[in-house]
Symmetry: C2
Subunit: 113 residues, 2 copies
DNA sequence: CAGTTATATGCCCGTCAAGGAATTCGAGCC
DNA sequence: GGCTCGAATTCCTTGACGGGCATATAACTG
């Protein structure tokens, strides 16, 4: 399905930020523009990429376009992840189980996104 | 949150292919070169990116460098995914409800362009 | 119908990443 | 020590991507 474009879409930090915004709730473009500090055209272009990757859906509300998350592709990501999850569950058990249980993992400093 | 370089690294299809190869078993560079049909230098560069993203680690075996998966960053991805997983698990329908908050929605097609 | 708001597109430019060829570095081998 | 194999690094070119500005389009408003 959206393989390539999915990864490409998520590769951009601004787009991930948009995705995160939409996780809270659906938002019109104007709000997204304001939130991510880009120009409106740039934001629209990012939204287009996300749309084409199937990551967001649009609903038209008067002149507004309200964007919302479309979770399916993220499920795809999850599916992609599955084999690897098996891997780190077994071979990296010593690392201290799930990362979310060890927020500051000494071996792998998590840099800010 | 996932390091930017992690996403960048995974954004490239060749690199995802390499990752998939290493999922089966660790491999020396030569094998990877052969498998992904790139030149050796290009492959080495991809491996460098993966290395710097922390996705793979190298073991030196005589003149060979054997690459293997380092699953931790993938766990990071999984962590990133978590909130979204909640979203599509609990509420494909809930999302639909939010999309339908305006019941007179003239059914906006996703504008796939 | 003209005007305004909200968003999308086109164009231009700067940057960056990817790929190949040549070169270099490192480790074994004769 | 010189040679060879395996891999990494450098240089260069090219193409894609991101950003802004100006403009087009669509929908509501008076």
């Amino acid at each position: 399905m959206a393989d390539a474009s999915l990864w490409t879409a998520l590769a951009d930090p601004h787009r991930r930020a948009i995705i995160a915004l939409l996780l809270e709730r659906p938002r019109p473009v104007g709000e997204i523009v304001e939130a991510c500090g880009l120009s409106q055209p740039s934001t629209s272009k990012h939204l287009k990429v996300l749309r084409e990757a199937g990551l967001v859906r649009v609903r038209q509300d008067a002149q507004r376009r309200v964007y919302a998350l479309a979770p399916a592709p993220i499920a795809e990501l999850d599916a992609w992840l599955a084999p690897y999850r098996r891997l780190w569950n077994t071979s990296l058990d010593k690392l201290g189980r799930r990362l979310d249980e060890a927020p500051d993992d000494p071996e792998e400093p998590v840099t800010k996104d």
